[in-house]
């Protein structure tokens, strides 16, 4: 019993993988010191926390549990889902005041040379 061999590489964050995560998250590397801190912390978290739930000794207990889409089952006491209808917000101008860059009530963003995500 233990961590399946195929999952061991997922429990280590290499420099290359950190760079990949930074790109996905659109958060750049600040400096080598922060990168090193993040890499060590993430690897520690995987080894000391996440590894516990990957242990194959749990496979039998989990075999008959159906996966859910929302953490736990949808709850019977919830209000019924409302219709997905668009309702105007009563005070749009106040919302727009929060925007960092606005022109003629439109959000302004850079557009030229946009790279694919």
């Amino acid at each position: 019993m233990g961590i399946p061999e195929r999952l061991r590489s997922a429990l280590v964050i290499s420099e290359q993988h950190l760079a990949e995560l930074q790109e996905w998250a659109q958060i750049a590397s600040k400096d080598d010191k922060e990168d090193e801190y993040l890499r060590i912390q993430l690897t520690n978290q995987l080894a000391q926390m996440v590894a516990k739930i990957l242990d194959d000794s749990l496979d039998t207990a989990l075999a008959d549990i159906k996966p859910t889409t929302y953490g736990a089952d949808l709850r019977p006491w919830q209000a019924p889902l409302r219709e997905d209808e668009v309702k105007p917000w009563p005070d749009v101008d106040t919302l727009l005041q929060s925007a960092p860059h606005l022109q003629d009530r439109y959000f302004v963003v850079p557009v030229r040379g946009t790279r694919a995500p």
């Binding site: 958060i27 978290q45 926390m49 996440v50 739930i53 990957l54 549990i65 850079p110």
Partner: protein, 532 residues
């Protein structure tokens, strides 16, 4: 000790207000005087103190993230007094000074989530919980400090310094993430406060600061206007000086909300009337209280050496309940040991999704660096705006939810969450409530474990199971350790049985004096010593 108005409970103050023994302005003046005495300066993003400022900062509590709203609070108090003079019934919380964790949107007030990325964001509307307390004519004093985006258990990760300190010992953390709210209530800088609890963020700081904190059932209180961390786990809860105050606040904020479909469509009981002394008198007679053996015997949950004084306090609590007629029954919650790893995966995946909305377009910080590329603008903005804690949790969330890891990480964590919930369901077939300590240790020193993300997360190991099971839990004071630091008792109940855990908590509170202790004597001594 001699109490000042700001040291009293909302329950007692509402009586004094209704009898016109005091005015809302008198009460507000008392709270503001206390703030002037113990608070110190509020949070700054560019915090670079000189030696004198640093010494001064170390002698104050710093519960609030921004200057308190003195003028607005006086206006609100005056209005309350005007109506009270006309014998208008404004509700049980009218005129009671309220502090709100800066994770709730409050109209026209800065709402930062303790992050630089929201440093200039003003709430455009009131969160439902804040709106309902405003409708009750509470007097909103200000916004309290927290861990950045609630990510922490000590309030040290806030981007706004000086850090909040524990009023019982200024060298210790107040807990987190609702550390500012708990410290404010404990120090008399507010009478009641709003917090949020995703893994223990109401209960753990309440325990560390010697006050009462309640995490309701998921769905009991609307999350509308609560800045999201992990949407399937976030709960809104009160932090107060007594169990009855907790009931008063819960009464005001609970119930269905058309803006949040996860808010339960379920009637809200009259919590306060259920705490009537005559009603509560017989509650513990024949009550079955679960004693989870793992919580008391597993060294990974409570260390027998470090936690000895906590275990001793819990044994004394047990005796109080036995004397009241309750039966203590040993139970097992075998999957509790997986609660932190499960929470770890689920919360980070949800957090990474939630924090993607901060992109510098619609609100919040946008980098001033010039670029003509949209994705570069996102990157500059998010790199400048987020601190280390959000960054590492976003990365972990993306790692755990990536296509190659999703089934083994997130999906498996979701299945284990169901086993944890089933543990509680089985336990509640045998017992009515479950007791444990709220925390494995008392308040730890500032800087003691900050930076070690695994240890910090482990501070929540006794509180997080209730979040994963979506059930209510309350923390209340049950003693002090040898260093004079408060110890918290946690009572956990079945879904939507806030009424029961409030009654069982109040039964204990009636028999003991722990909740009557205030840190002021100690705090004033510390302030004097540090001033010298």
């Amino acid at each position: 000790m001699e109490y000042e108005l700001c040291d009293l409970t909302a329950y007692d103050l509402r009586y004094m207000l209704s009898k016109k023994e005091i005015s809302a302005e008198d009460l507000l003046d008392s709270v503001i005087a206390r703030i002037e005495e113990v608070e110190g300066r509020s949070g700054l993003f560019d915090y670079i103190p000189n030696a004198a400022q640093e010494a001064e900062d170390q002698s104050k509590v710093h519960a609030y993230i921004a200057p308190i709203l003195v003028e607005k609070a006086h206006e609100q108090a005056k209005i309350v007094d005007k109506y009270l003079a006309q014998n208008e019934d404004l509700g049980p919380l009218a005129g009671i000074p309220l502090a709100i964790k800066d994770i709730f949107c409050v109209r026209d007030s800065l709402t930062t989530a303790a992050s630089y990325i929201l440093h200039d964001y003003k709430g455009c509307y009131d969160a439902t919980a804040a709106a309902r307390l405003r409708e009750q004519a509470t007097v909103i004093i200000g916004k309290t400090n927290l861990d950045e985006f609630v990510l922490g258990s000590s309030t040290e990760s806030s981007a706004y310094k000086p850090v909040t300190r524990n009023p019982w010992d200024l060298s210790r953390v107040p807990g987190g993430s609702s550390g500012g709210s708990a410290a404010a209530v404990a120090a008399g800088e507010a009478i009641i406060a709003l917090g949020s609890d995703t893994a223990g963020s109401v209960r753990q700081p309440a325990a560390f600061c010697g006050v009462v904190g309640l995490k309701p059932t998921y769905g009991r209180v609307s999350r509308w206007g609560l800045i999201a961390m992990a949407s399937s786990l976030d709960c809104v809860g009160p932090i107060t000086k007594s169990v009855r105050d907790c009931a008063l606040v819960l009464q005001a904020i609970a119930g269905r909300d058309e803006y949040d479909w996860t808010a339960a469509d379920k009637a809200v009981p009259d919590y306060l009337s259920l705490l009537n002394d005559d009603v509560v008198a017989g509650v513990c007679n024949g009550l079955r209280i679960g004693w989870p053996t793992e919580y008391f015997e597993d060294p990974d949950l409570i260390d027998p050496q470090d936690g000895k004084q906590i275990l001793d306090a819990l044994n004394q609590v047990k005796q109080v309940y036995i004397d009241l007629g309750a039966e203590i029954i040993e139970i097992s919650l075998p999957h509790t040991i997986y609660a932190i790893p499960v929470y770890f995966v689920i919360s980070r995946v949800e957090l990474a999704t939630n924090l993607h909305r901060y992109d510098g377009v619609k609100y919040g910080h946008r980098s001033a660096r010039i670029t003509h590329k949209l994705f570069e603008m996102y990157e500059y903005t998010r790199t400048e705006g987020f601190g280390e804690q959000p960054k590492q949790r976003i990365f972990m969330g993306m790692h755990a939810s990536s296509a190659r890891n999703f089934n083994e990480f997130y999906d498996r964590a979701g299945k284990l969450q169901i086993l944890i919930r089933q543990d509680f369901e089985k336990a509640f077939e045998k017992v009515d409530v479950i007791m444990s300590s709220t925390t494995p240790t008392t308040a730890f020193p500032l800087g003691g474990i900050y930076g070690d993300t695994v240890q910090m997360q482990n501070a929540d190991r006794l509180t997080v199971p209730a979040n994963l099971a979506e059930i209510p839990a309350i923390s209340l004071p049950c003693g002090f350790d040898g260093d004079g630091l408060p110890i918290g008792l946690q009572l956990i109940g079945p879904a939507f049985r806030e009424d029961l855990i409030l009654q069982v908590a109040y039964s204990y509170e009636r028999e003991t004096d722990w909740h009557k202790n205030r840190p002021m004597e100690h705090l004033r001594r510390e302030i004097r010593t540090r001033d010298i």
